[in-house]
Symmetry: C2
Subunit: 343 residues, 2 copies
Amino acid sequence: LDLASIRKEVDDVLEGFLGDLDRARETRSLAEVLRDFIAAGGKRIRPLLCMLGWHAAGGSGDATAALRLAASLELFHASVLIHDDIIDDSPVRRGRPAAHRVLAGRGPAGSDRRFGTSAAILLGNLTLAWSGQLMWTAPVTDRQLRAVLPVLDHMRRDVNVGQYLDLLASGQPSGDLDGALAIVRYKTARYTVERPLQAGAALAGAEPEVLRACSDFGVPLGEAFQLRDDLLGVFGDPARTGKSVLGDLREGKHTPLMAVALRRATPAQRAALRDRVGNPGLDEADAAAVRSVLVATGAVAAVEQMIGERHASAVTALDGAPFCAEAAAALRTLADIAVRRTS
Amino acid sequence: LDLASIRKEVDDVLEGFLGDLDRARETRSLAEVLRDFIAAGGKRIRPLLCMLGWHAAGGSGDATAALRLAASLELFHASVLIHDDIIDDSPVRRGRPAAHRVLAGRGPAGSDRRFGTSAAILLGNLTLAWSGQLMWTAPVTDRQLRAVLPVLDHMRRDVNVGQYLDLLASGQPSGDLDGALAIVRYKTARYTVERPLQAGAALAGAEPEVLRACSDFGVPLGEAFQLRDDLLGVFGDPARTGKSVLGDLREGKHTPLMAVALRRATPAQRAALRDRVGNPGLDEADAAAVRSVLVATGAVAAVEQMIGERHASAVTALDGAPFCAEAAAALRTLADIAVRRTS
């Protein structure tokens, strides 16, 4: 199971499907924006996990349906990101202007921010519809359809709940570590890792204990993945991550990293954080000051430890999982990449 | 087939489902906003058409699955309206503050417009997920599921395409009648009438000729419905319609009504329209001036005639349709209401 070649197969499905959308004149311009968005990159983590879930549960032979399901998860994710960038007012995604910024330049009356936001809400919705279309038109049996639908259904709810909790907490980071971890659980652990794995496994006809093993491995790994993401969002190299290191801080994202720092901070350190985090005018110097507090309080080290613990717990779950051996090995590789990555 | 009692049954399903959502602590506050939104009114035209489509195609006996499908269309529509009100920046829906305005008052930091918009994007997405959940968990056979999915899939695409065409044309009404009618076809004829009818019919196991008859009746009726809506949007009684008569004009909505008026206008009348329509500052006096041009050019009379022609064509299609007689009679009643309504 070679991750790079699975990725290539998923991308081929996406390219074929998005290419066909050009035939509908009314949506050609929106489909074009989506194609550029997909082509600009992304880790394809959900499609890869879906394919590994399918193999783990014994899926083999013709992978057409599994690849379509995997590709549909990437379109679903694109719809989430397009809306998310509106919500966060992020100018950049994958090193290029975010969809609402691209669309702002395509309004009938020239550059128009409101048009961009509105068109991006619709593009997100249409992308979700296309994601469904890619899935429902896959060659699946009734039994497969019945098994996959509830997983996708949970996935849809998990991500929106996570985003809502995130939104409620944004702008006023606090020491509420449990609250910060709940956001991580919904937005990433379930949505990004557990559900994609389960979707692929369900397609392969997984028994309940296989679906449970997907959770036991996926939830801690997903938490570790997001904790790494939070560190990269503040300490990462924008040239590698494709996003500014000021965004999360300006937004005042309520992360476990920030919660731990606020809990451990001296009054002066706490004031240094509160004065800057969540301020849309935060600059490079402010970010540097915040970073030094995050390091000095030991919050960075604590989060690194949380990542290590969760990675270990995922690997332990994998050792006991009733997965096909080859898929388990690939999942371990993926777990290592997810946790150690720099982009 | 009594429309009022069908409506009551659909509302009972909605109430039961939305009541159950309260059990999930994380989404309780969003579910509450949705319940108020649904309880505030709405014509339930899509659920009614879905139930009539089911009966028309011979559906009978236990209506549980049909009612859940019908109710899921109303939730789907709520998700569309919640996003639509963000796009149009409409302050009012069904005589109450629009969802993004309600949510703006529920942010963590007090009244916050950006929070309201973001939370409403997520509420729309979550409502769509709930709509799917209501449908997938209905007691349907595999064959029913397979028949209904492609119809819902088309419905999702139709409404987003229609809204995008609408958005592209808004703010600069023109004499392009074909363009205005294309918006009407996607947004209303297909999304509001044809697809809900077909969804119900598909659930009942409709043969292709029954699905075609749904289109032959539904598309002209849907166009008539929207043309009536456009007239009510400018000439209606806000106390009855629940929405301001300034909204469509301020937005510069590209309607067939406006297209006909611009085609027939004298230079002075055209200037009177162009100076006012699409101006966010348009006031009651401006609206009165626009209304008098719409009447004087004969555009109102022309649109009334278009409504009459389409109503007649829908009724003719109904006469030849292979529908169960009782459902056909109810569809005729509904067609009359849709076209003659004042709210």
